[in-house]
């Protein structure tokens, strides 16, 4: 008889309470009537009203989404290329330098990435004249740079765990390497590419430090807006914004998880049926 791991279950409960009490508190206080963000003063949805009527928030959200969509897409293309190169090109010249270059942004403190990007863009504007002003372009460029390496990590590890014989089989059946890539490799790693894109998108949506350094006048992303508000202290409309974020992300994550789980279960069922009926 297995003993129930009481201690571990207690720690799990404690851990999840630790994870979610602050978030729940934020959600509850988003319906607070009081101006004070953490003292209960009756139920109200006025902060949602003020949030929706705030054009600045809407503009910041749109800008963030634009940057995230563009940077995640380009980062996915570049990151996938790098992942393929690292996983499949063997020992090409400059491989060590390249893999170092792909790892470094992962561990570079954001503040240093931010400052170095800013100095780079300032000097570039001074001596080359492009980009003339900082904003959408510079934030996007910086986001591509530090999110592509996350895509690379995801794609590379998926490719290393994939059965290479599948690609060899395609080659053996007459396909040249490029065609093997299109016919077999990319379809097989497409889930990793998709999750890489999602990761890059989230990183971009969430980034405040690098955006804050590389932005210019007029280009305020949502995290920059929140940052500037929060620095001044706790404000209730941020609670409302946080609630909306948590609810949106929660719905997305759980729907995705549910769909994946269902697909996995169906595959498992099909696999079992295949063995029972066909043998």
């Amino acid at each position: 008889m297995r003993r129930r791991p009481t201690f571990l279950i207690t720690m799990l409960c404690f851990g999840f309470a630790f994870f979610y009490i602050p978030i729940l508190s934020m959600i509850v206080f988003s319906f607070n009537n009081s101006r004070l963000a953490t003292v209960w003063g009756g139920f109200s949805t006025k902060w949602y009203g003020s949030l929706f009527s705030n054009a600045q928030v809407g503009r910041a959200l749109v800008l963030s989404l634009e940057i995230a969509l563009l940077s995640a897409t380009i980062a996915t293309i570049l990151g996938t290329m790098a992942g393929i190169a690292l996983a499949r090109f063997g020992r090409f010249r400059g491989r060590t330098a390249f893999s170092g270059l792909v790892t470094a942004p992962l561990i570079m403190p954001e503040v240093i990435t931010g400052i170095s990007s800013l100095i780079f863009f300032i000097l570039l504007a001074n001596y080359v004249g492009w980009p003339a002003s900082r904003g959408f372009t510079t934030i996007t460029l910086a986001h591509i740079t530090f999110s592509m390496v996350f895509v690379t990590t995801v794609v590379q590890s998926r490719m290393l765990s994939a059965d290479r014989a599948i690609e060899e089989a395609a080659m053996d059946l007459g396909s040249r390497p490029w065609q093997v890539m299109v016919d077999v490799t990319l379809p097989v790693i497409s889930p990793a590419i998709l999750s890489g894109w999602l990761l890059a998108f989230t990183i971009s949506m969430d980034d405040v430090v690098i955006s804050n350094f590389t932005t210019g006048p007029g280009a305020t992303t949502l995290p920059i807006l929140i940052w500037s508000k929060v620095k001044l202290g706790v404000t209730p409309d941020i609670n409302a914004l946080a609630t909306l974020t948590v609810v949106t992300v929660g719905i997305c994550v759980f729907t995705a998880g549910w769909l994946l789980n269902r697909a996995e279960k169906r595959r498992e069922l099909e696999r079992r049926l295949a063995y029972q009926i066909n043998e």
Binding site: A165, I166, E168, A169, A170, M171, D172, L173, E270, L273
Partner: protein, 369 residues
């Protein structure tokens, strides 16, 4: 090239070597394979058989020697330009394509119309009896069916040579036997030359017309299954294929087809079939397969008769395995068919019985290597 009456071999492997860094995976291997043959590369893991197969397919470059397929030098020819297809050990089916797409994949490189292509796919699915599963994905069919999809896919482009990497290893025992015969019948119908890599000697013996036994990158012996079994050329081959008792011996006298050997382990002289190149006084190995020995509780006389005691016996039903201790202390294995049902009360050979072993002089194999 020698011009004989026989057609030139389909495959010529000439002094092929392959090293990975300082490790020599394949050492100076030469062999020829005729059109329509089933040829087996047999050996333990790490013996270089898979590396040789991958060099034939073009996935590995040779580091020495040349491979000719149908007279054409394959050096520098990439896998996609070789008239060779492979059935992978993992089957390597494309997980995102249906069975028919898998089978038809190679055909897109053939100058065919869509209808011709479809016909060919249908024909192949028929050949491996998978027509009802054409629209399924690989994960929706069983292991045995996947194996057949892999076979159909590799055969669809009518290769000159089909390479099979451990084709039966992933199947369970019952299915394996059935599939062995299916593979042979498909080979017969298509006439494609097969090279099978396997570590399973029984599989190699059943499937192959000829076997190459490999060890540590070298080919030890090539021949039909019967030759390799009955006339092994080295202790390694003798021991790798089937079981054998090998004993140290010294040549005492050579008399035409018979050679007399002193075998201290048996405590007496052994008469054996002569082999070329022996000289009196030479130390050799004499090897005897367990099933070639007769065991009897009744005293025997004559050549090649030795007395011992049963140390161990294993009863398998249709046959039994005995281990006999000789007076010298040596252990001899004997494999005997239980051809007769023993009558009630009659004693069969039992533990600690005194027994007489005998064998025909032709059964004793003299090994110098």
């Amino acid at each position: 090239m020698p011009k004989d009456a026989a057609p030139p071999p389909l495959i010529r492997v000439e002094n092929v070597s392959k090293s990975f860094g300082t490790f020599q995976a394949v050492k100076n291997v030469s062999l020829t394979i005729d059109k329509g043959e089933i040829f087996a590369l047999l050996g333990g893991s790490g013996c270089g058989k898979t590396t040789l197969l991958r060099m034939l397919a073009g996935f590995e470059e040779t580091t020495g020697g040349k491979i000719f397929i149908d007279g054409q030098d394959m050096t520098g020819v990439p896998p996609w330009e070789r008239p060779v297809h492979m059935m992978f050990q993992s089957y390597a089916l494309f997980p995102h394509m249906t069975v028919e797409k898998n089978v038809g994949y190679g055909l897109k490189h053939e100058p065919m119309t869509a209808a011709q292509r479809q016909d060919r796919v249908r024909e192949m699915l028929d050949l491996v009896q998978l027509t009802p599963f054409a629209t399924r994905k690989p994960h929706q069919i069983s292991g045995g069916q996947r194996q057949r999809v892999a076979l159909a896919r590799a055969l669809a482009r009518q290769p000159k040579l089909l390479l099979l990497d451990e084709p039966l290893a992933a199947l369970d025992k019952k299915l394996r036997e059935h599939t062995q015969f299916e593979l042979m019948s498909i080979q017969e119908r298509t006439g494609v030359t097969f090279i099978v890599v396997t570590h399973d000697q029984e599989e190699a013996m059943t499937l192959a017309d000829r076997i190459a036994v490999m060890d540590r990158g070298e080919v030890k012996q090539i021949g039909p299954p019967g030759d390799v079994y009955e006339f092994p050329n080295s202790r390694f081959v003798a021991g790798f294929i089937g079981s054998i008792t090998a004993l140290e011996a010294v040549v005492e006298a050579i008399d035409g087809v018979r050679t007399r050997l002193a075998v201290p382990a048996l405590g007496g002289p052994v008469q054996a079939r002569s082999v070329a190149g022996l000289s009196v006084g030479q130390t050799v190995t004499v090897a005897i397969r367990p099933e070639k020995l007769a065991i009897s509780r009744a005293p025997q006389t004559g050549d090649n008769v030795f007395e011992g005691e049963v140390k161990d016996l294993a009863y398998f039903g249709k046959d039994s395995l005995y281990r006999i201790t000789m007076p010298s202390g040596a252990l001899i294995s004997v494999h005997a068919v239980n051809a007769r049902r023993s009558a009630e009360g009659e004693r069969v050979v039992d533990w600690y019985d005194k027994v007489w072993l005998s064998f025909d002089p032709t059964s004793a194999i003299i090994l110098t290597a």
